[in-house]
Every structure is written in structure tokens, then in C-alpha cells.
Symmetry: C2
Subunit: 646 residues, 2 copies
């Protein structure tokens, strides 16, 4: 049954009924369609609370923004499960006020409106404190005083402060209320953070990584150090260098072929180090205010202990053998996929619990961030089960979905619980497709529950402008990733401009680090590390870049130049990015700024400062920019909201 007031199309929400998402302290947009029959004036609000702690309800008003859409914001202050409800009611005072002022303005007889206003004030007076009650009584008295003019009788009752006293529903009976919509609140790192991916075996193991490479990565300003699987690697059907089927004896194999007689998903590859070495790495990260992220890849090499201990957890061929992974005609004979639906349900329960316990094992060892490998090839029902199993115990856990698949599957993974998602950013290169994609991610329905993590490269993906590109291309793509999205990451070697592809048509790297150990000259004078350090420091210093939904694209008259602005939740920080998307040519453009939308006066110049060049500019609404491939981006913040005109 429909209520007296219709409240529909509530956001934030997921299409599947799973929780929408926010982080602590984030200003979260809330909106709904709200309407009723007739011409009475409505009022509405959002109320929310933590349900873990049976918390107090907070509330904020919603405002009509046109076409029966109402908008407001909420801000959650605690981790964990929350709920929100939208409430709407007929605002009897506002309706009366509109009616009486319209009649007054039209010079019409007020009829019994004065007495009706007095009755309205009397009915509401009971709920107010003494001082407000007295103000209301005086206003009511004036309404009923026939010795005065209509205007004098109405003056007090139409006062703004009376309207404020009468805000809110007169009674719960008059209020239409939605069902509760669930909202999961993460810590801020779920939304905002810079990731760095490296293979610890290339750095000499876990302890060497902790002591040598991690400090340098920390100095570059990264927040998360993400490691591909650190577990023992199988030898059966091991892949050789360049993904060949004929490995040399010293080829290390792919870290994703998990498991050997030395252990599986809860073990550490002996060549990387010991449990204590891992603990040392976690401690080293913590001491630099970084975190370690581990890979969570649910597949087994033929040598994984589960294969012999739990053959019922794998797919069996008609000939009795265990099926290796394949997507015909591609074959991955060094990997057995897991069968998440064994025929006996008790086997399924044991399997799913074992998979959950991998998370718990590493959480016990100080890990709270997991990059989940290929989640789209595992059942959505498994993720729907396992993520709350972990997250309800450790609400600071972060799950990044490495799903490069169809858009609806990626959205469904986010809806059932993944904290963050890899995206199509890598393949969005022109201005119109970047803008369209960002609008989808930041304003579309998925913005309520899917958080992007932008990667210009991964060990699997060397694509787009990086393939033929030099330093300019690497700067452009990293600038875009790091400023368009609050979470981004890069795979090591990016700073050294590595870009030799496996082939013209293969997006992988030549001599991929997945199959061999790499030695790199981190001290190369050509390294982008200093530039990256500047970029990451600016990100940290500017809360405007810690948010996703606040992006606003800036019109400009050159399709090779993309510009955008972000304003922090509190309005105090305004960042403007301008990027020359063409790594080969200088481009000029005029920008068309919407200054009031950036919190700036429309008619006064203001000063911006560029993080890369250190230069300052005095800008008006239509600034001119020129960007050369040698420094293809401006990373600006508004230094002073208004400066004296020159």
C-alpha cells in the first residue's frame, strides 16, 4: 500500500538490497522522490544511526531541488552497520503561510485563515519550551486581535523564527516513513589512499623489502604496499619466463600458482622469508603509517595441500582427474580452480569456512587490506557470505575487487560487499570517455556503493598511451589516476617508464615480472619518483582529493585538455586539475569556470598555485592555460579566494 506521501527512488542504496557505502566523516548525498496529491507544502528529512551500537538517531533536512526530487546529506561518525530512513510530512505551517501571504498579496479577503493560523499555533505550542511557547502565544494573540489590520495581526505569525520552531512533523501519525535502508560505514582508507604494488621476491624477500624498498615507497607518499601472493608456488606445470610452458629449473613460477608441499594460502614462500620476516614488514609499514595489502587468490597449484586433503573442493573430469583452469582455447594448467558448489553441502560449508579462515589468518598477522584476484570467476553468493563474515568481526577490513569484466558483474560484486573495485580507467583515454566514465562512477547509481581504485598499470596490463609513450604519457596517466579518484595505485616500474609490451596485440609486459625476478635501478636519474612524491604530497595535503562524489568537470575549448575541480566537504579546500591529454604536443585552452560552484565570488580574481611548477596565477572566470608535454598538467589549489585586482 502506498502512503499518504509517496517516497521513492531513495539514494544511497544498492539494487540488491545490500548496504550502500560511506566512510567515516564523509558527506554523503541523500535524495528521494517525494510527493503527494494536491498543493500542500511538504517537508522531509533523513534520519540515520549506527545499528551496531543501537546508536542515537541523527537527522538532516532534505530540500526540494525540482521535479519532486529532494536532496540533503548525511555524515556517519562510527564504523560499521548503519541504517537510514527518509521521512516526509505535510508542513501545515508552511502551507498556511503560503496561502495567507498569497491571499494578502492578492488583496483577497482572508476568510477564516487568521483563526486557522491561531489554531495551528495553539496545537503546536504544547511541544515547545517556555520561551518559545510565549512567543507563539503572543503571535497567536495578535492573529485573534480584531482591532488590528490584517497585516499587523499576521506580522508575528509570519516571522521566520516561528517557522523554525514549527519545523518537523507535528506528530508521528502525520509522517510517512520509508523502510530502513542499510548503509555500511568504512574507515577513510576504504575511499582514499595511494597504493604501490611490488613483487617482494624482486626486492630480495620480505625483510629486504621492509628495510630497503618500503622506506622509499613511503617517501614517495604511498599509503598501501600491495604484495602479489607470498605463498609457496607449485612446480607442476609451472610457467617459465614470458609465460612459456617450458620453465628453466631456476624460473620462480607465477605467484598466483599457489601452493606446494610447503603449504598453501596461509603459508609464506620460504624464499621470501619467515613469519617473523612478514611481521617485520608489517611493523615497518606501520612505523611509516603505511599498510600492507595481501593478494587473495582462490585457486590452487596442483601441488597445493588442499588438492590431496580435499579433492572434493575441486572440479573432476570424467576421467577422474582434477580439472585445471581453462577458458577455451586458453589453458592454465598450473592452476586448479575451486569448485564452490561441491555436491555435498557439508563440503561446501567446510570449503567456504576454510576460505574465510585465510582472511582471518592474515588479519591475525596485522593485515586489514586484501586485493581479491578475479572475484568474478567465483560465486557472488560466496562473496555475499564471506565479506560480512570477516567485516562484521573486523570492520576495518578492506576488500579490493580485481574484476576486469562486464559492467553489471562489476557492479554486483560491489553491491554484495566489495569495498573497492578496479575499473575501466586503464582503457579510458580521450576526454569525452574519461568525463562520461567519471560521471557514471561519481554520480550514477553505482556511486552509492562502488568505489573505484584507478590503476594506470598492473603486472597484467600495459595498455593505451603508456605502450608508445614516454615520460609525458606516464605523467598524464598518473596525474589522472591520482586526482580523478581518491584511491589509485601503480605497479612498480612505472616510475622507471617501463613499457615494453609482450606483443603488439598482447596487453601484458614483455618479460613479465609474474614469471621472473626483476632487478631495477631505483636510483636512476630519470626516475619519476620526485614527481610522484610531489603528486602524493599534494593529495595528502588537500582533503578535496580525498573524496569521490565531489568532482565537477570544467568546460574548455580544446578536446585535448581536460579540466576539473574538487571542493572539500567543508568547502575550505578547492583543487583544480588541468591535463594535456596529448603526450606529444603542446596545447592551449581557455577554461570556463563556474566560480560560485567552487565557492568563489563570480566577479573577483583569485589566486591559484601549481604543485608541479610552484608557480602562482591570478585567475578570473576564463583563465588561459598552455601545457607542454614536458609538464603536461597543472595541479592547482586556490590559495586565496579573492585577490586585489591588478
Amino acid at each position: 500500500m502506498i502512503g499518504r506521501i509517496v517516497i521513492d527512488e531513495v539514494r544511497p542504496r544498492t539494487p540488491t538490497g545490500h548496504p550502500a557505502k560511506a566512510v567515516v566523516g564523509e558527506t554523503v548525498p541523500v535524495s528521494a522522490d517525494i510527493f503527494r496529491d494536491g498543493h500542500d507544502i511538504l517537508a522531509a528529512r533523513v534520519r540515520w544511526r549506527s545499528t551496531d551500537k543501537d546508536g542515537e538517531w541523527a537527522e538532516a533536512p532534505l530540500h526540494h531541488v525540482g521535479n519532486d526530487r529532494w536532496e540533503g546529506t548525511l555524515e556517519a561518525t562510527a564504523l560499521g552497520h548503519h541504517e537510514l530512513v527518509i521521512e516526509a510530512w505535510t508542513d501545515a505551517y508552511a502551507t498556511w503561510r503560503h496561502k495567507v501571504t498569497t491571499k494578502l498579496g492578492a488583496g483577497q479577503d482572508l476568510g477564516s485563515e487568521l483563526a486557522e493560523g491561531a489554531a495551528l499555533l495553539a496545537a503546536r505550542a504544547r511541544k515547545l519550551d517556555k520561551e518559545d511557547r510565549e512567543q507563539l502565544a503572543a503571535a497567536r494573540g495578535a492573529l485573534l486581535d480584531e482591532s488590528m489590520s490584517n497585516w499587523d495581526r499576521l506580522r508575528d505569525a509570519l516571522d521566520v523564527s516561528i517557522g523554525q520552531q514549527l519545523a518537523g512533523p507535528a506528530s508521528t501519525k502525520e509522517t510517512t516513513r520509508t523502510k530502513p535502508y542499510p548503509l555500511w560505514v568504512d574507515r577513510e582508507r576504504a575511499l582514499y589512499g595511494a597504493w604501490y604494488e611490488l613483487f617482494p621476491r624482486s626486492e630480495g624477500g620480505l625483510r629486504a623489502t621492509a628495510h630497503n624498498r618500503l622506506p622509499a615507497v613511503a617517501d614517495m607518499g604511498f599509503d598501501v604496499l600491495y604484495l602479489p601472493p607470498i605463498h609457496p608456488i607449485g612446480t607442476t606445470k609451472r610457467k617459465g619466463r614470458n609465460n612459456t610452458l617450458t620453465p628453466e629449473p631456476d624460473d620462480p613460477g607465477s605467484p598466483w600458482a599457489i601452493g606446494s608441499p610447503e603449504g598453501g594460502h596461509t603459508s609464506i614462500h620460504p624464499e621470501l622469508g619467515t613469519e617473523e620476516d612478514f611481521a617485520e614488514l608489517v611493523r615497518a609499514a606501520q612505523s611509516r603509517e603505511m599498510e600492507i595489502a595481501l593478494d587473495y587468490a582462490l585457486q590452487c597449484s596442483p601441488d597445493h595441500p588442499w588438492v590431496s586433503e580435499h579433492p572434493e573442493w575441486f572440479h573432476h573430469r570424467a576421467d577422474g582427474s582434477i580439472a585445471y583452469a581453462e577458458n577455451p582455447p586458453k589453458r592454465y594448467e598450473d592452476i586448479y580452480p575451486i569448485n564452490f558448489w561441491p555436491s555435498k553441502d557439508s563440503d561446501r560449508v567446510a570449503l567456504w569456512e576454510a576460505c574465510r579462515d585465510i582472511f582471518l589468518h592474515w588479519i591475525d598477522r596485522g593485515v586489514r587490506i586484501f586485493r581479491v584476484d578475479n572475484p568474478h570467476t567465483k560465486p557472488l553468493a560466496f562473496w555475499e557470505w564471506v565479506i560480512p563474515q570477516v567485516r562484521d568481526r573486523y570492520p576495518d577490513t578492506i576488500f579490493l575487487a580485481e574484476a576486469f569484466t562486464r559492467p553489471k558483474v562489476m557492479a554486483a560484486l560491489a553491491a554484495v560487499g566489495f569495498t573497492q573495485s578496479y575499473t575501466y580507467f586503464t582503457w579510458r583515454t580521450s576526454k569525452w570517455e574519461l568525463e562520461q566514465y567519471l560521471i557514471e562512477l561519481t554520480q550514477g547509481p553505482v556511486a552509492d556503493y562502488m568505489r573505484p581504485n584507478f590503476w594506470p598499470n598492473t603486472p597484467d596490463i600495459l595498455s593505451g598511451p603508456l605502450r608508445g609513450g614516454g615520460e609525458a604519457a606516464f605523467k598524464i596517466r598518473l596525474m589522472l589516476a591520482a586526482t580523478l579518484a581518491p584511491a589509485y595505485g601503480m605497479y612498480s616500474g612505472y616510475e622507471l617508464l617501463e613499457n615494453q609490451p609482450a606483443s603488439e596485440t598482447n596487453e601484458e609486459y614483455h618479460q613479465s615480472e609474474k614469471y621472473e625476478i626483476k632487478k631495477r635501478d631505483w636510483d636512476s636519474p630519470d626516475s619519476l619518483a620526485p614527481w610522484i612524491t610531489t603528486l602524493n604530497r599534494f593529495r595528502r595535503d588537500h582533503p578535496a582529493l580525498h573524496r569521490l562524489r565531489n568532482i565537477r568537470f570544467i568546460a574548455c575549448n580544446n578536446d585535448a585538455v581536460m579540466a576539473f575541480a574538487k571542493v572539500s566537504d567543508d568547502g575550505a579546500d578547492t583543487v583544480i586539475g588541468v591535463v594535456n591529454l596529448d603526450p606529444h604536443t603542446s596545447h592551449e585552452a581557455t577554461l570556463y569556470l563556474d566560480l560560485p560552484a567552487l565557492g568563489l565570488a563570480p566577479d573577483r580574481p583569485f589566486e591559484v598555485e601549481d604543485a608541479f611548477s610552484g608557480r602562482s596565477f591570478t585567475w578570473g572566470p576564463n583563465p588561459y592555460v598552455r601545457l607542454d608535454p614536458s609538464e603536461p598538467a597543472h595541479l592547482l589549489h586556490v590559495v586565496s579566494p579573492s585577490v586585489d585586482a591588478p
Copy 2:
């Protein structure tokens, strides 16, 4: 909990959970997002049945059309309540077939695929009849025959007919099924029909209308004769001619000021005739295969019997008087709005039942179509209750919502049950806005449950090009209304090109028939009646125009020329409309037809015939048209799908 397969965003549906809509015999598009983890091949179908009669399930396949969207159609054959479910399952045979043929094509070892295919066939053979089982057994035998080549072993198992036998889910356990989605099935008149509105008092009453005017309206090809309220009219605060507050003694008053001492909503105005005269009108309509539609206007003149009998059904002012209708500063003192929420719930129940009984009263007297006045000023909850109250007893009842209000309110009225809706057509005049609006109405979410009824004019609305327009404007707007939408209507006087506005800014007519009796010369030689007769005859003869969702706009190189095509459900009838939207100037255009989409060969000429001129044209994919204001539209049908090239 999410299923093994996700099925989401099912259409048709309403956002509120009320039934979507179809008419008997209509081809209804059905679609859903359907996907699962991994690479296995899915299959899906829609099943539907009448729930009134606990009917047999019918089913039809859904096909993947891209981006995980699946589409198909259903067709209901009975009136009343239906339900539909979407089912999806992993197609084990198709998955096996894809895998084995890909491996075969890549020259790979088939491993145990042959044995697995044999097991698959064996598992399914049990459910088939003897002949099919034998075919399957032979195919299975070949698969296992190691003496043959792989290709010979597979030949029978890969045969298309085997795939057909194995279509459908292997077991209900493997099938993911949505909840049932409700669907209400109306008779065809709910979707398709030409309406004519007249004031019977201007024609000399009900009997004179039956004998004089109705035959002429029937001859023009209209299906529904719609009468404004025929009830006694109040005298208190009666409006005079041109909506004045100072009526002359012989001014008849607005028919919407319903009720006098002579009766209310179930009475007939004595000046219009008797119950027997009304019965005569109903019989006359039936004899011409027309129907009478009555106005259902829930408001009362101050003289309505309910005012004294049920003062609790009205709003009371502080001074004890009953409140007249107003939308400040506008006042409607000849009308009391009804208070649908009296404070006592027993009063509410009595009121709502009395309102329902008005429908039942006229249904008893042969009426099945109601044009509901201003439904958006009455509670949605009332319509949600009263429409099923009537429709479940008389499923052939049609409710047309006369709501010219905000889009979400109009959609909600349709969602809770209105059969048809007035629209913004009257205010959509340029090509881009007509096309955008039609795409919204025919393909957007509202197409599942909101059926437009297009009116170029009503007694309240003389707008747009008609105001300054001559015959060309009247032809253009009627052509658009009658061909873009399967249901359309016009208010009498249109054929005489009446277009004197109340003022430059007032959309009403000067000397509106709402406040006075009009005498017209129906035999005027300038009447559009012959042209309208041609238009309506063409509509009747062409089933392509009996449907809403089949419209397809045709690109053309002149923004003053709009072209579109409609193909009937069975594909046998193709109609093309071309309209010069400019009533003042001749326009030429080249059309760009998508011939295969119209069921025509892409490379052969075809013949079309114009209903207005009677001329035939031989067209190819890019026909040239020239339309003069004297005959501003082509109303074409494809006479022969291919003709010999000249």
C-alpha cells in the same frame, strides 16, 4: 540472498510493485539483467499465467542482446490479473558444445570432453520420449566410440536438433527464478481507441445526442463518445459565461459543479433527460460499436445532497463553514473539494465506498469507461483502493486519468492503477521534443504501465499552434495525436477549427462551452470531418497503429519534418507517417529509412500509398518528400514489400 544466477531489473514492472499493464493479444516486451560468475553459458525464459483463473503457464525464451541484458516477449490471452516470472539456468549442453568446438577448432586435445558429453546426454535422456531418447543414445554411443575420429564421434552430439531437445533447465534445482511480477491485462480499448468529447446540452440533451450527433461522430470513425458530467448543476456561486462570478439567470453553469437538490453523482440533469434517455444513448452507441465514457469528478457544488447528508466528508474552516476549492490566489467557490481523510476512519470508509458506488452505479447502466477529473488532487491511496474494487468485478472497466501535473505524480497515478493518462502532448510541438517525449512514453520505464491518450485540445486547453493556426495546424496536430499514440481524442469544435483563446496568456477558450451552450454548424463546408474520417478509417484498418511500443522514428534532413514508422505485432502491416510540423510553409526532406527494421529488403524498391491523397509512391531507402500546408502529412502504408525496379 543473491542466487547462483543474478536476475535483476526485470521489465515490465512498476516502481511501486503494482501490476504492469498489457492488453489482450498485445506483444509485450520482457527483459532482465541476467548473469553469473565465470564463463558458463546461460539460458533464460519468461513464464506467465492468468492468476484469476489459476491458468496454465505459458513460456517464451529470452535472448541475450548485449551487456547482460536479455529480451523476449509475452502475449496474454485473457483479461485480468496475471503474473510473470523470469527463469535462468546454466545451459550445460551449450557450455559443453562451446568448449568442445573451440578446442576442436584450435586443434587441442579434447581430454575427457567426449566422456563428459556422453554423461551429459545420458543424464538428460531420461526425460525425453522414446524417439528422442534413441537419437540421444546414438549420439552418446558415437561419443564413446574410440574407433572413430574426434570429428566423427562429435558429429551427432553437436547436431542442432540435440541442442533443441536439451533446451530448458535440467532440473528445477538448477534454475534461478525471480519472484512473480504482477501484470494486469485489459481489453484492447484500454490501449487503442479514438475519443470524441461533446457537451450533450449543446446538442439538445441525451436523446438528441443519441439520435443526431452520435451517428455523425460514429461516421467520423470514433470509438468512444465522452461526456462531461451529466449530473444536476449547483446554483450557489454558479459561474456565468466566460467564467464570471455574475451569472445571468439562464446561464447553465459548469457541469463540474456537481449536485443540486435534484441529485448528485448518480443523478442525471433533468435538462439533459431521463434515465431512459441515457439508456437510449448507451444503446445507440452500442449499435454503432461505440461506447459512452462518463466523467468522474469527485467534488460537489454547495447544493450537492452530500453536503447536508455528510458534512463530515468535507473540509471545515475555523468559522465552521465548509471550505470551497482554492489554489491561492485562485478560488473556485462553486465547488467543495472532498476531504478524503475524515478524522473518524468509519467516515472515511463510508466516503470511499460511496465514491466507489458511483462507478458501480454507472457500470450497472452500461458504462465501462470513465474519464477521471483531476485525480492528482485526490489521494493516491484512494485510487489504489478504488480501482481494484471496481476492476476486479468488472475487468473491462477503463479509467482515464485527467492529470496535467508533474511527471512523477502522473506516473504514480498510472502505477497505482489508472488505465490511461492524459499527457503533455498538447505542449510538445517541435520535432525534438515530440521525439524525446514519445521515446520516454514508449520505451522508458513508464511504458510498462502508463498508456498515453493524446488530445490536441480539450474544453480547458487551447494551446500551441492551434491558437494562431488555420486548417494546416489543426490537421498537423490531429495527425500527430492519432498516429503517434494508439489512443487519442478531440473535443468537439476541433473539426470547425475553433480557436479563439480567452486571452493571450490564458489557455482556455473564449466563450468556453464549460459555461454556456454552444450551437455549431456541423454541416459547414469547411469542416475537417471528411479528413478526420479518412484518418480514423486508416487507423482502424491498420493494426500497426493499434500499438504503442512499436514506434520507430525515421531520420530526415529537415527539422520541420517528422517521420516515423510502426509495424504490427505480426509484421504484416507497416505504416509510415510523415508530417510537416510547420503550418505556414512547404517543406522538403530526404528520409533515411532502416528498411530491414521495417521488414523490408534493404536493396529493393517498395510501394507505399498515402491515405490522404490516394497517391502511390515507389520508394527506396532514401525517399524524397515535399509537404505543403494544404496537405501537411503523408499517412502511408506499405502496399507491396517489393516491386519491380522501374
